[in-house]
Amino acid sequence: MDSKDSNSVKHILFALIRTALFIALAALIFVLLSHVMKNKDDEELTGAYFDYPKGTFDVVFLGPSVMHYGVYPLELWENYGIASYNMSSANQTVPETYYLLKEIIERDHPKLIVYDTTIFKEDFKIQNYANLHFVADRMPYFSENRKAMIEDMIPEEDREEFEIPMTLYHQRWKNLKAEDFRKGYTEDTFGAKIIGESNPVELVSETPTDPFTELNDVPSTYVGMIMDLCKETGTNLLFTTFPIAGTSDNASIHTEEYQTSVRTALFVDIIAQFHGFTHINFLCHPEYLNLDTQRDTRDGHHLNVLGGEKMTAFLGAYIRNNYDAELIPDRRGDQSYAFMDKALGKYKEVKLRRSLITCNRQALYEEFLARLGAGQDLLVVKASANEVSISRGGEVLYAGGAEPVTISAGGKQFEITPGETTTVKADGALVSQNRAGTQFIVYKDGGKKLSDSVCFGVNESGAEISRHMFNEDY
């Protein structure tokens, strides 16, 4: 080799090394940027399950939104010492659950899977791409199960947004917040979605005409695969069917949907028994929860925070009473689980705030403030046409009548002008200006940060309404 050839080889070698370094740097930026751009606004995506060390969680909850709204893992931790995570999501279909479960079992080998069957009556692999993102985007990017799920469900020409989620999430550039640049999730509720909205439902009284309905092809195939997977891996599987599914929505009673749900749930009873699994059929036995259908439901399908607390408490007690403590130990006091205690403190704040900002009934709002807000340094301004009060940490700082007032509290100067349209200003800035009704302005940290501003009133037909201001700022 002469010196010219030698120089040429060196030149090429250096070029290749430079290229490799460039690609590595680009890849690093891409990974960081992917995290920044990833959608964290949607509560369906707030979970960080796969960011925790392998084998952390003993119990994992799966299924559609009813499970997502109804089980609060950090309350299971606080009250029962159960280390669990809720990986359910909106319209999580049976095939989606299968691939997610496979990933969870292969990675973590949890002791118990609690799986809600409400979606079993449907016969599709995927409802829409957005819902699939809730599952796919939480799974590790290089997971074989994620890849298999996408290949199973998405036509080749549409896979780009799943193969490279950045092609979808880059559109968030104008909505980025400081939280997007932080590591992890600032509001990890361990997968729970907490809603304070309350709408009464009416239970269907008619019993189904047929004893049960066999599953359609898609759920039948994948439920079989889920049960086989659990058997093969020695994972306990507990089926649930949540109450009130399809009973009523917007005051309409969906008898047919309800009966289909009941017949499907009855069939799940049979297959669970046949395969040696347990099924808690809340749909046919709402009495298990002692549910108050005037308060504890968000709509004809979902529980609200009150119903969720009952469901969580029931499942916590059930798991404690029916599974060996060696299998699902009480992890409280275990130093490796100290992060759950830390998360619990933050969770209580998040639970209160989410309950408040979604609450639509004044009586419940005041109940949330008193019960969920206990121990939190809340500054609450309450104002209506003939009553004004300011309290902090439950202690009343001011109570007055219909006259305008200027008062300092929590480091702020409040100007309150009661009347037909009550106005509240804090340090000159408008924090509430709603129509007739009772207004609440809630600050956390003793008045440092505005948490909610809402007005409760009645509309023309006499129905109670609520108007939340500033919610988008949270």
Binding site: I12, A15, A26, I29, L33, T167, L168, H170, K174
Partner: protein, 518 residues
């Protein structure tokens, strides 16, 4: 396979990676193979492959038969040449202009039929047909015909190696939207093995990304505003129209030149530089100069293969002689020139599509401006002298550039409008007073919010900055001369700016280029 897809990027990476490991002959075979694969991914793959293969075979064989450097009867050569020429043009007319031909036929020979019920004779047109034209048909037909004409006119010898001609016809980067290459420009690259050139690959990749930036960050964003205004021009009248057509100029330029940057970049990575199609046209000071800088390969093709031969033809020579006698030598010699130019511009307009709006917007109007510019130059010079205007100042150059921009935009109005009627309607709307676009709500009511408009403005400023550098120097070399951190910052900045601010993905349709329809 669209050019703005992940699939195409992956395709280019794989093609380039394998290519440099192959010996010379296999490099060409590899390129031919991947080009066929690329065609098979198009909308009408079999039709495109058969048509393109057919035209390539015809041109290859006709080239050998009509080669002036070989012995043979000149009449036979001429007959073969004309037959091949007509066959290729016939295919082009059939696929691209059949509905235009049907319109002409309906005009010349209307179909009469009896009206249902009354039995009265009514005139009805032959219906349009819907046949998907093969991918990029207008581009490679002209390219292959260029080769045939060059061989027939003795510019160079016919290529005997069918692989080279096949590659010349099917080479994938040029297939969608050109450029219209010349055989003698590409042949040297097909003849020798292309060596691994890291700097060339890096420059090609950077140009590729710059093309994506132009297309996804600027063109797709501008398109939102343009579509809103052109979609409801009765409502968005006055200054909105001026804004809309100006922005369409930006959209079209960044779309087409972005597409060119992508394919040029892809080709450069393979060590085959293709003919440039743009030379910073935004800085043109006259319409003539604009056309020297815009879609260069189309303009030079029509000049070399239509206008110049026409000027030398016996017919135009005879017209020239008669004109000189009638109007004097100076004015008379312009008549054949202008006639040839008119035919050139009609050809350019017609090439864009079988519609009168293209013939006006991309042809006749520009011809008119150029003729007026030439004829009135003495008058303009006199006025400038009379008013003591220094035409060499930066301010006057800026005036010329702005004037040229709006003259070009006047043609783009026809180009973008759905029909001549709509374009004329927009001209009428232009003269009604509506300055809503000057308000913030007027601007943000067109489909883009303030943040997107901000990004669009910044991106256009960046574009002008880059074009300004390009005017003075080769920007690729200027970047290559920077130190490593600066080069990497430029590359990564461009990649991630495109990735974040580009309008692509699930809610967008950025896959199609305006010129891919021609």
């Amino acid at each position: 396979m669209g050019l703005v897809t992940l699939e195409f990027i992956e395709f280019c990476i794989v093609v380039t990676a394998v290519y440099y490991f192959l010996p010379g002959i296999l490099q060409n075979l590899w390129l031919l193979g991947v080009s066929v694969y690329y065609i098979l991914q198009s909308e009408a793959p079999v039709r495109t492959l058969i048509f393109l293969g057919g035209v390539t075979v015809i041109v290859y064989l006709a080239g050998l038969a009509a080669d002036q450097s070989r012995e043979g009867r000149s009449t036979l050569k001429k007959a073969v040449f004309l037959a091949a020429l007509l066959a290729c043009l016939g295919f082009l007319l059939y696929f691209k202009y059949q509905n235009f031909l049907i319109d002409v036929l309906n005009l010349v020979s209307p179909v009469k039929s009896a009206a249902a019920g009354t039995g009265a004779a009514v005139v009805s047109g032959r219906p349009h047909v819907s046949i998907a034209a093969p991918l990029g048909i207008s581009f490679y037909t002209l390219q292959l015909l260029g080769y045939l004409i060059d061989v027939y006119t003795g510019k160079y010898q016919a290529e005997r190696n069918p692989l080279k001609i096949a590659l010349f016809g099917l080479y994938f980067p040029q297939l969608t939207s050109g450029p219209i290459n010349r055989y003698n420009d590409l042949e040297p690259y097909f003849a020798a093995r292309r060596k691994f050139d890291p700097e060339g690959i890096a420059a090609g990749a950077l140009r590729f990304v710059w093309g994506l930036f132009k297309k996804l960050v600027i063109s797709e964003r501008a398109a939102v505003l343009v579509n809103t205004i052109f979609g409801a021009y009765e409502y968005y009248n006055g200054l909105y129209i001026l804004f809309g057509v100006s922005l369409f100029a930006v959209q079209l330029y960044t779309d087409f030149s972005g597409c060119m940057d992508i394919v040029m970049g892809a080709s450069k990575m393979l060590g085959i530089p293709m003919a440039e199609n743009f030379d910073t046209p935004v800085f043109s000071q006259s319409v003539t100069e604009f056309w020297r800088r815009w879609h260069i390969t189309l303009g030079t093709w029509f000049k070399d293969y239509v206008m110049y031969p026409l000027q030398k033809s016996n017919l135009l020579q005879a017209i020239g002689d008669k004109s000189k006698k009638a109007f004097g030598k100076k004015k008379g010699k312009k008549v054949p020139l202008y006639l040839a130019m008119l035919i050139l511009w009609l050809g350019v307009g017609f090439w864009h599509g079988g519609a009168i709006k293209y013939v006006i917007g991309s042809g006749v109007l520009h011809f008119t401006y150029i003729v007026i510019g030439r004829e009135c130059k003495p008058l303009f010079d006199k006025i400038a002298a009379l008013l003591h205007i220094d035409t060499e100042t930066a301010g006057f150059r800026l005036f010329r550039r702005v004037r040229t921009f709006f003259l070009v935009c006047s043609g783009f109005m026809f180009f973008r409008a759905d029909s001549v009627r709509m374009a004329l309607g927009m001209y009428r709307s232009l003269f009604s007073w509506n300055a809503g676009i000057l308000t913030l709500s007027g601007l943000t009511g067109l489909g883009l919010d303030l943040q997107d408009i901000f990004v669009l403005v910044l991106a256009i400023i960046l574009l002008l900055f880059v074009e300004n550098i390009q005017q003075k120097t080769d920007i690729t070399k200027a970047i290559a001369a920077q130190n490593l951190p600066a080069r990497w910052m430029i590359c990564l900045g461009l990649v991630f700016a495109t990735m974040i601010f580009g309008m692509y993905g699930a809610n967008y349709d950025a896959a199609s280029f305006i010129y891919a329809n021609f």
